[in-house]
């Protein structure tokens, strides 16, 4: 019996779906394992892979699951402080970097002035300098400036990443029409007012994407705070949870609950906004 076009297509897609489901399974298993471990006692972590077996619904001993790990994290171990640090550091560096990168990108995209090409090549040069090369002398510099073990020491070096300047220049070259700027100047608008009321609204998608990129980068930054901070009161989650593992190495449930509270907020936020985020990620590379 001959198949119709759509039936044939569906048949051809069946192995594609199968492969995708298998790949999705592999991707999700570590997350599921992490969530299960976070709600288990240590004994149950060692005796069961995912959920402890018992007589409850679906053959799971639901009553053995516990939120004790989370309670310990926030009462006894003061992880709330680390979370506040993470939120503060990530939000501040995202806002600062987005603002200053947009400002610099605008100058390079929409102004003609002697020395502009020279500054553009500086931006491109900064893009290719590996961060690990700056680790040792950067530490010495922060020491000389007296910025070691301070929030400023971590935030200040990152207020205008070259990558952001580059991205904003690329998007503003097309998104901001020169005639609009000219007529605003004719109307007598000041340069900062033009930037805030005309330029920024035109690159709103880029701002959203870059805020997310920098927020995520700062949230997940480990080596920076690990080198700059000495006082545990300043540690963000990345450093604090890793220290926890050093102290409570075999307490799997506790470490996994710490990992879960560290990744769950960003995971939720970014999966909600993934369309904008992915557009921002690929805009620099694919179209640029």
């Amino acid at each position: 019996m001959p198949l119709t076009q759509s039936q044939r297509q569906r048949l051809l897609l069946a192995p594609v779906y199968a492969a995708l489901v298998v790949a999705a399974g592999f991707t999700l298993v570590p997350f599921v394992w992490l969530i299960c471990a976070a709600f288990k006692t240590n004994a149950d972590v060692f005796s069961s892979n995912f959920l402890p077996r018992g007589d409850g619904f679906l053959g799971v001993a639901w009553e053995r699951l516990t939120t004790l790990n989370f309670v310990r994290l926030f009462t006894e171990l003061g992880i709330g402080r680390a979370m506040a640090n993470s939120i503060f550091l990530a939000a501040t560096s995202a806002l600062l970097a987005t603002f200053f990168c947009a400002l610099a990108g605008y100058a390079l995209a929409k102004f003609r002035f002697p020395g502009r090409d020279w500054v553009i090549s500086l931006v491109l040069a900064a893009l290719v300098i590996p961060g690990s090369l700056l680790m040792a002398p950067g530490y010495k510099l922060l020491y000389d400036l007296g910025l070691l073990d301070s929030y400023l020491g971590l935030l200040l070096p990152g207020i205008t990443p070259a990558f952001g300047v580059f991205l904003f220049r690329q998007s503003m070259m097309n998104a901001v029409p020169a005639t609009l700027l000219e007529s605003a100047r004719i109307d007598g608008a000041g340069e900062f007012r033009i930037f805030f009321t005309i330029v920024l609204p035109l690159v709103r998608p880029m701002i959203g994407a870059y805020l997310m990129i920098t927020f995520l980068g700062a949230w997940n930054n480990f080596i920076g705070p690990q080198i700059v901070f000495q006082d545990p009161a300043r540690f963000p989650l990345s450093v604090a949870i890793n220290q926890l593992r050093g102290l409570y190495g075999t307490d799997y449930g506790l470490i996994m609950s710490g990992t879960l509270v560290s990744i769950a907020p960003v995971l939720a936020l970014f999966l909600l906004l993934q369309k904008e985020f992915i557009a921002g990620l690929t805009s620099g590379a694919v179209k640029g």
């Binding site: 102004f111 593992r245 799997y252």
Partner: protein, 314 residues
């Protein structure tokens, strides 16, 4: 000065008819003010440390306070330093493994997701992308426990599937590199896939249809239409993966609980740099290692440029 003053005072807006060519031009200082934060941080936190690191590479230091000139001794020592070469070997092994496994899988997933008529594309894309939102530290913590002997998920699963598999299999003691490559695979496949998917969606539909009408098989179409179209993105992704792999640090650092693992099996170049500079306190030798690493990375970047140029010409 008059330019500065005029920018803050609104021009006569009451008279909207301004003769062409006589409107107030953008003041010359404006771009420099907008660029000032970039130029300042660029100078202070990039150029200055970069120059310092050239100087440091010829010194031996004991913490940030005391140092002594040693000339080329750092580089001479590095050349004969078995630990450094161990780190280079481990890093190269990881980079090779990571790129060889990640790229085909990323491209494969992108090709599957790009199938016309596929439903749930956004849903699958979200799942594959999710791991790249997890920071390297947290991936290290998660996989450190998943690779644990006896209780870790990897060993219990393998033992369940193949009863002959030793549930005490020492991943983190003897087979660190495969464990690292596996963890990186989970983390980066979806991320690279996003780039391939974006590139695939730029392949002109008409070309594919015309070729299919001409009777070209799927392999032929992939080889002669899709591949040339996505090659620029592919070389970009390869370069990014290589450069990222060469700077591998957090993953083994956390996975191995701050150590280099037994027999330094998990020592990477940046981990050696970190240990030298911040554990032993020799920022000089650490800077020298940094420059050699930068040299390796520059070589790869130049190689990619040469390859891209070569492709365009042929």
């Amino acid at each position: 000065m008059s330019e500065v003053a005029s920018s803050s005072v609104p021009a006569p807006a009451a008279n909207p008819v301004v003769p062409q060519g006589r409107y107030r031009a953008e003041p010359r200082w404006v771009p420099w003010v907008f660029l000032a934060p970039f130029l300042l941080t660029f100078g202070v936190f990039l150029v200055w440390p970069l120059m310092q690191s050239v100087l440091l590479a010829f010194q031996q230091t004991f913490g940030p306070k005391t140092s002594a000139w040693v000339g080329l001794a750092n580089f001479n020592f590095m050349f004969h330093d078995p630990l450094f070469w161990k780190a280079v070997g481990n890093t190269a092994g990881f980079a090779a493994g990571a790129v060889c496994f990640q790229l085909p899988l990323s491209l494969g997933l992108a090709l599957l997701l790009n199938r016309p008529g596929l439903k749930g594309r956004a849903f699958f894309r979200m799942i594959f992308f999710a791991p790249s939102l997890v920071g390297l530290v947290f991936v290290g913590l998660l996989f450190g426990l998943m690779f644990a002997p006896r209780t870790g998920l990897v060993n219990t699963t393998l033992h369940g599937l193949f009863p002959a598999f030793d549930p005490e299999f020492p991943w983190l003691q003897l087979y660190i590199l495969p464990a690292l490559i596996f963890a990186a695979l989970w983390l980066y496949v979806g991320f690279n896939m996003i780039y391939f998917l974006a590139a695939l969606q730029n392949v002109p539909e008409e070309l594919m249809e015309a070729s299919a009408l001409d009777g070209a098989g799927p392999w032929h179409r992939f080889r002669h239409i899709v591949l040339p179209e996505i090659l620029p993105v592919a070389t970009f992704v390869v370069l990014m993966s290589l450069l990222g792999s060469l700077q591998l640090f957090e993953l083994p650092f956390v996975l191995l609980n701050g150590t280099a693992g037994p027999d330094n099996r998990g020592l990477t170049i940046v981990m050696y740099l970190y240990n030298t500079g911040f554990v032993s306190g020799d920022l000089g030798y650490a800077s020298a290692i940094g420059w050699v690493l930068a040299l390796f990375m520059g070589a790869f970047a130049l190689g990619q440029r040469w390859f891209s140029k070569h492709q365009e010409e042929s």
